[in-house]
Amino acid sequence: MDPVGLLFFLVGFLIMAGIYAILCLALNVQWGYGGLFNAGIAGFFAVGAYTSALLTAAPAPTHLGGFELPVLVGIIAAAVTAGLTGWAVAKICIRLKSDYLAMASIGIAEILRMVIVNEDWLTNGSLGITNIPRPFDGLLQGREADILFLAFVWVIVAIVYLVCNRLYDSPWGRTLRAVRDNEDAARAVGKDVDSFRLQTFVIGAALMGVAGALSAHYFRFLSPEATEPLLITFLVWVMLMAGGSGNNKGAIIGALSVWAIWSLTEIVTNRLPAEFATRSSYIRMLLIGLLLQFVLQKYRSGLLPERSPGIAFDKDKDKTHG
């Protein structure tokens, strides 16, 4: 590969890794802090993606809207609609214990995807939505525009990371982790468990919506294929488990490293003989699954395990190790 080609491979890689980093941080809020088993990540991702696409794309007779609103408005709206979807799901399911919540969230995500595929008046069905703009469109042309978009994505990653860290390092985050560890004891010390879970689920879902929006703007095209649960839900779970659930840095490291391996396996499987090429997708899944097993054997809580944020004015930390 020539250096320029390599550079743009890297740019594309980092854009997707950034989008995955946001998903992973979002799942970390739900699962890592709150212990909520969301197996429907793809659903919230899709809601965000379609919201922003419909609001910002050029008008078209094939689907609703095309309001040509600014991209930033689209992204904020994506957070709102995905968050509202999360709120509705949480209202129904949050009292369910974690394994039931997992089942319920898979079900709801699949329903959302069916709606997207079947309601063509809204989404143009499987043909998808075209002409989705990017922010700062026209500033740079062609492949240079990717670099601009890369910067945009990682600025958002940085903001999301900051927000997640502040949530984590606060009485809010502490209470949430307590709820996760023992809900009865949390109630006994006066915490409104259902309310904390609801908030967590909504915040996580909203961030997932932002990631969905970014992916729609990146590809400038959105069809139901972009919300494939195998590529969204499954991979994000692998990323968080490998990186370290409960740890925001771990979430980002997990997204980067798993996406790197995923991209590398693509290079390998593309060179396989034709009879294997069609099987490449599940071979890659198998590889990723094995890799996760390997990581978890070696690092039981992921590469960067959860760490208590510490108390700012707790000076004599040296008495014991943390």
Partner: protein, 257 residues
């Protein structure tokens, strides 16, 4: 302080608590004793709101709280410890205590992200109280340890510490003494007495060690098979025929000596 009216708690066919009525006096340390499976913990769960009774009413200073969720009872000044330690395993010991404190401003997600100055003072106060509580419970040397790694006895102390952090009016202690060394247990008894005499805290404690009960409790309720057998001073109940019968199935032994 707490009044129970005809409380029944059924699990399937089993009546774990079977028509229990009594009141716990304000400012008094009440003991709740009885053989294993008598329904003591179940009764605590009903008072604390962990379980809602099949029938009957729970009153807190005259207010009907039978259907009030546990966290709201906690805000009304009711605290409890669990017989089987319910620590927050991945939180440090210090965090376990601080999380029990009143940090309502910092528990607002919006404040946590954008107005962090707003809860500094509240956080500091909770921190200081947590440190004092740790010192008292002789847990300061493990304050940065994850609570999940503590020993059984240390987890019991943590339970007690968490309920003290609530500054409650009524504390329910479920076998707090089990697994704690004698010296510390003596200190805890003194602390309970002091909190009771100086600050007017009301306690109700379940304990199998009747000597411990006799040191602390002026009022003892005896349960067996979901019912209240008798009530009185420790000496009265110790020599009660029905109590001896319940504990020893009719053998001619004296309870606890």
């Amino acid at each position: 302080m707490i009044t129970l009216e005809n409380i029944v708690m059924r699990f399937g066919g089993l009546a774990a608590v079977d028509d229990v009525s009594f009141a716990i006096g304000k400012g008094i340390i009440t003991g709740l004793i009885g053989p294993n499976g008598a329904g003591k913990t179940t009764l605590f769960n009903i008072i604390a709101g962990r379980l809602f009774p099949t029938s009957g009413r729970v009153l807190l200073e005259g207010d009907d709280i039978t259907r009030l969720p546990p966290h709201e009872r906690s805000h009304k000044g009711l605290a409890r410890t669990f017989q089987i330690p319910h620590e927050f395993g991945a939180l440090t010991v210090l965090e376990n205590l601080m999380v029990a404190g009143d940090t309502s401003r910092g528990e607002n997600a919006f404040n946590a992200v954008l107005r962090r100055g707003l809860f500094l003072r509240e956080e500091r106060a909770v921190y200081e109280r947590a440190r004092d509580t740790l010192d008292f419970l002789e847990l300061s040397h493990v304050k940065s340890e994850k609570a999940g790694n503590l020993s059984g006895g240390q987890k019991k102390l943590l339970e007690l510490g968490r309920s003290l952090m609530r500054e409650p009016r009524l504390i329910l202690l479920d076998e707090i003494g089990a697994g704690i060394n004698r010296t510390l247990l003596g200190k805890i008894a003194e602390k309970i007495k002091r909190l009771n005499e100086e600050r007017g805290f009301t306690f109700c404690l379940i304990e199998h060690d009747l000597d411990y009960v006799s040191k602390l409790c002026s009022d003892v309720i005896v349960m067996a098979q979901g019912k209240v057998l008798t009530r009185g001073t420790i000496d009265e109940v110790r020599h009660d025929e029905r109590v001896i019968e319940a504990y020893f199935g009719g053998g001619k032994y004296e309870v606890g000596t």
